[in-house]
């Protein structure tokens, strides 16, 4: 446990010792603000809730999470420091969890800095804080699932750009396969069971409940399974590389 924390702390400080972290945080905050107020119609709705804020999160994470996580393993592979890391008294799982937690904490910090939204909505009306809380919970889980996918793609290749693009494609697939505009096109020829199957592996189906303020055990299970599965695949890939 302490080893995991050591690795996590080292990785987290690596983020903040380069301009990447600050650029990322500023862009994330600008984009959430833009989408909430300009595209989401926050004021036109006339409701004191943060739905137009949370609705965009999977779409933002689609690009921003791979950008945060793409260097996790590919950098180590490119520089050859992975051999150094794995010959230390560290098990692959400790390294994987440590790196994953560091990036997740970083995303959490970026998300926590959106607190002016909550203040805005609390100043303008009487928002439902339970709902806001569950919205944040869903957002954290979505970023975790996407981050696990990025961990896997970054272990696959020593090229960060390839890792980024692969990860975006996988995340995009998970978003689109339950996104109504896409399912409406497919519905004409695909059998119902196939659409149902795709809807259940879609991120949007499971994220929706959190936005409404309902935490469903199935949604929780889904996000934890996706995260766990891709972290496991990362360990398999790293093991295969070492062999």
């Amino acid at each position: 446990m302490r080893t995991i924390w050591t690795i996590a702390r080292r990785e987290l400080s690596a983020y903040f010792s380069s301009p990447v972290a600050y650029v990322f945080i500023v862009i994330f905050l600008l984009l959430t603000g833009f989408f909430t107020f300009m595209v989401g119609g926050f004021f036109e709705r006339g409701l004191a809730d943060l739905l137009p804020f949370f609705v965009w999160h999977p779409w933002l994470y689609l690009f921003l999470v791979p950008a945060v996580g793409m260097r996790l393993w590919s950098e180590e592979l490119r520089l050859g420091t992975i051999e150094l890391l794995l010959t230390m008294p560290v098990t692959p799982w400790q390294a994987i969890l440590g790196k994953f937690l560091a990036s997740w904490l970083f995303l959490l910090i970026a998300l926590a800095l959106t607190f002016p939204m909550v203040i805005t909505v609390a100043y303008l009306g009487h928002p439902d804080f339970g709902r806001i809380l569950s919205g944040y919970g869903g957002s954290i889980l979505t970023s975790g699932a996407f981050l696990a996918i990025t961990c896997m793609t970054s272990a696959l290749t020593r090229n960060q750009v390839i890792s980024f693009i692969l990860s975006v494609v996988i995340c995009l697939f998970l978003i689109l396969c339950s996104w109504p505009p896409v399912t409406n096109i497919v519905v004409n020829w695909a059998p119902a069971w196939l659409i149902d199957a795709f809807a259940t592996i879609g991120v949007m189906t499971h994220y929706e409940g959190f936005q409404r303020g309902v935490i469903d055990s199935r949604d929780l299970l889904f996000f934890l399974s996706v995260t766990g599965f891709f972290l496991f695949t990362t360990s398999v890939i790293l093991r295969a590389r070492r062999a």
Binding site: G213, I237, A243
Partner: protein, 133 residues
């Protein structure tokens, strides 16, 4: 070379096994669902009285829900409201032990859904374009 192949095969088999196990867990999890409603007024939780009535249902009930989803001129607040109604209907369906069936219809002009809406005595609301903005 052979050991490398074997270890790769082993890892792929392992990944597939984990995938199958996780899918199974998720499918099983569907039967033991727990939900916690964090909204202040328990918006998505049915009151005890409603649950009792739903339990006593003995004939199948079909609820037809009409909403012009594909009509781009439907304003955002109405869309939000439609979503809330849909959620509530889903909750009814969940507690009715399969007695309640919710049919979602989009009454586009000249469609069967529109005829069905007319038969049910629902008339389309026309809204001025100026009012929308």
């Amino acid at each position: 070379m052979k050991t490398k192949f074997e270890s790769l095969l082993y890892s792929i088999v392992g990944v597939v096994a984990v995938l199958i196990i996780l899918v199974a867990i998720n499918l099983l999890g569907g039967f033991f669902k727990v939900r916690s409603d964090l909204t202040q007024n328990k918006l998505y939780t049915l009151s005890d009285g409603t649950k009792k009535i739903l339990n006593k249902l003995d004939t199948p009930v079909e609820i037809r829900f009409y909403f012009s989803r594909d009509n781009a001129s439907v304003p955002v607040p109405l869309r939000t409201y439609a979503q809330q109604v849909e959620d509530l209907l889903a909750e009814y369906q969940q507690y009715s032990h399969g007695k309640i069936k919710v049919v979602k219809l989009d009454p586009k002009p000249d469609s069967d859904a529109e005829d069905s809406a007319n038969l049910d005595g629902i008339e389309g609301l026309s809204r001025c374009r100026d009012q929308l903005s």
